[in-house]
């Protein structure tokens, strides 16, 4: 660690301290990790019922997805959301702005977004380590729904798409948190975001099920990177060329959202009133 450049050492230290913090409440954390698997069980049963009602057994295909494809899609969406959802990030930033706790980022030689980013990376990493066994179990139980083991190239692209899911999710939610510089309270914004991202990210339905006129516009938005893109990549829904375009566009969205975050932070700090004593 001593040989690291100072800026990397700070990131590493934030990361390490955040891991220690995440493990402070072990029981709550373990419970929260396990409880996140419940929705997937209901989804599997729900899609089972929908497909059963859709026609004779041999013709049970909806928009080119068989029941097995749909279960696989749902599982992969769950993985995508595990990377892109940022519980408490928006409300945490807003709370810090509202009650003045943000002062520690402004008076110390540390970048607030950088700090929050490594803090979140640490929390996610702890989550993945703890959730690895239940995830592996669920995928093993549902292994028959997948069409064979993906190629190394597909797995590599899937890995990139998950990184993009994390970055896009982090940047959208931190941007919403920074809105608190103007509105102080963002809980309604968070609620609206949860509603629309559930639909626009492909969490509710695969985005390629939407009518082309609507689907075209929705696919131009960054929300698909939160869930749909990682699932579509692993299910090999994209051609090679499409895959490259999707991943490059994801990087473009990360850059755009990053710049928007920087802009919101610098403008927000100009009007910040340091409330809360």
């Amino acid at each position: 660690m001593l040989s690291m450049p100072p800026s990397l050492r700070v990131k590493w230290c934030i990361f390490r301290t955040s891991i220690a913090e995440r493990l402070a409440y072990r029981a709550d954390f373990a419970f929260a990790t396990l409880i996140r698997f419940l929705p997937i069980v209901t989804q599997v049963f729900l899609w089972g019922a929908i497909y059963q009602a859709s026609g004779p057994r041999d013709e049970r295909v909806i928009n080119s997805y068989t029941y097995g494809d749909m279960v696989a899609y749902s599982l992969l969406v769950m993985v995508g959301r595990a990377f892109s959802s940022m519980p408490g990030l928006t409300t945490g930033i807003a709370r810090d702005i509202r009650d003045g706790t943000i002062k520690k980022f402004l008076t110390q030689p540390v970048d607030m977004l950088d700090y929050l980013f490594w803090h979140r990376v640490a929390h996610k990493l702890v989550y993945y380590v703890i959730a690895f066994v239940p995830f592996a179990l669920v995928f093993w139980l549902c292994g028959d729904y997948f069409r064979g083991f993906p190629s190394a190239g597909t797995l590599f692209a899937f890995g990139i798409s998950l990184v993009l899911a994390f970055l896009v999710g982090f940047l959208i939610e931190s941007l919403m948190g920074l809105v608190a510089f103007w509105f102080l309270e963002v809980s309604s914004l968070v609620f609206v975001y949860m509603l629309i991202s559930y639909f626009l990210s492909g969490h509710m339905l695969p985005l390629d099920w939407l009518p082309p006129s609507l689907g075209y516009w929705i696919q131009l938005l960054p929300f698909k990177y939160l869930a749909f893109t990682p699932a579509a990549v692993l299910l090999e829904k994209y051609s090679h060329q499409q895959l490259v375009i999707e991943l490059v566009m994801g990087c473009v969205w990360v850059a755009v959202l990053y710049l928007l975050n920087r802009l919101a932070l610098s403008r927000g700090l100009m009007r910040y009133s340091a409330y809360g004593g």
Partner: protein, 333 residues
């Protein structure tokens, strides 16, 4: 050359004015009334290296706002300020490495972790050389008597212990300027004295420049020789603490203990009775009449003990603050 230079600094806020009741809440959705609050008005002062200055004023006077401006938390509406040659609200890292802000009501340590984890993070953030860090940490934990507590989660510490940990975190990087906002708020007398004693010792040793706000006059009297009094966003006094009493109090107190068990009934003719616990009485008498009144009392009564003293600083300042209404009232709509 002054370390802190403030010139005509002003900060105005726009504050939403809501009347009571649900109808007001409803109309507030469409039309809101705001008023302009002048939290700081054309404040100017200079502080030299190694000075420890008290920044006094009633709630809402503009003290904390001034500290927030000097620490770069907020931008001013007008005016200029430099600290160590830096404009605080430019938030340059070079400046942020050379000062600290401690707010008694704000926590910057990681709540669920032992304070030592936060200290290590500070070591990296401020790029403190490890041996220097350890030496300073040992020194500070010894001085503040918390060495055994650094491994305990912050949430499990008492308020006094937590405040001392906050001070350690703020001082680990040896700041040249320390801005203290109510560092002893809510602490018991023992903790207050520990913090006071520490600050007095450490400030002298390190020659730190300190600007302190506190409502506890004991803090101020124990630590500062100079005081800046701010009220309604304006500076009312800037000079030695001792001058405050001369300048703002026209009376002194005479404390008498009469022989026997009673206080004479007509004692009011000599001055205003502040306290009467027979056979003792405390009178408030105009400064210039002290010799005459004292002579008359000694001539007329048998007095066992006598003392003449200034009014407590706290009383003088409280009276000074009470002369005008709260700064946040009566502003322009």
């Amino acid at each position: 050359m002054p370390i802190i230079e403030v010139s005509n600094l002003a900060k105005h806020y726009r504050v939403y004015q809501k009347r009571a009741g649900w109808m007001s809440s409803l109309t507030g959705l469409f039309h809101r009334e705001y008023k302009q609050v002048r939290a700081v008005r054309d404040v100017s002062f200079q502080i030299e290296r190694g000075e420890m200055v008290a920044f006094l004023g009633p709630n809402g006077a503009g003290k904390t706002t001034t500290l927030k401006l000097l620490s770069g938390l907020i931008h001013p509406t007008s005016g200029t300020a430099t600290v160590l040659g830096y404009v605080p609200w430019h938030r340059e890292n070079a400046y942020r490495k050379r000062f600290s802000l401690v707010m008694g009501q704000k926590n910057q340590l990681w709540w669920d972790l032992p304070a030592q984890e936060s200290f290590i993070l500070h070591r990296e953030i401020y790029a403190i050389e490890p041996t220097q860090f350890q030496r300073r940490l040992d020194e500070l934990t010894d001085l503040l008597e918390v060495r055994k507590l650094v491994g305990q989660p912050v949430r499990e510490l008492s308020l006094g212990e937590r405040m001392r940990m906050e001070l350690i975190a703020a001082l680990l990087h040896s700041p040249e300027v320390l801005l203290l906002d109510e560092p002893t708020i809510g602490l018991d007398v023992v903790s207050q004295r520990k913090v006071q004693g520490f600050l007095r010792h450490y400030q002298v040793e390190q020659q730190m420049t300190v600007l302190l706000t506190s409502h506890y006059m004991k803090d101020v009297e124990a630590l500062c020789r100079r005081a800046i009094i701010i009220n309604e966003g304006e500076i009312k006094h800037d000079g030695p603490l001792a001058e405050i009493i001369d300048r703002f109090s026209s009376v002194k107190q005479i404390e008498l203990q009469f022989a026997g068990s009673e206080v004479p009934d007509d004692i009011e003719r000599y001055g205003r009775v502040v306290e009467r616990v027979p056979p003792r009485v405390k009178l408030e008498v105009p400064r210039h009449e002290i010799p005459r009144v004292l002579a008359a009392l000694l001539d007329r009564y048998t007095i066992e003990d006598v003392g003449v003293q200034e009014r407590p600083l706290e009383e003088v300042i409280a009276e000074l603050f009470a002369r005008k209404p709260d700064a946040r009232e009566g502003e322009d709509a």
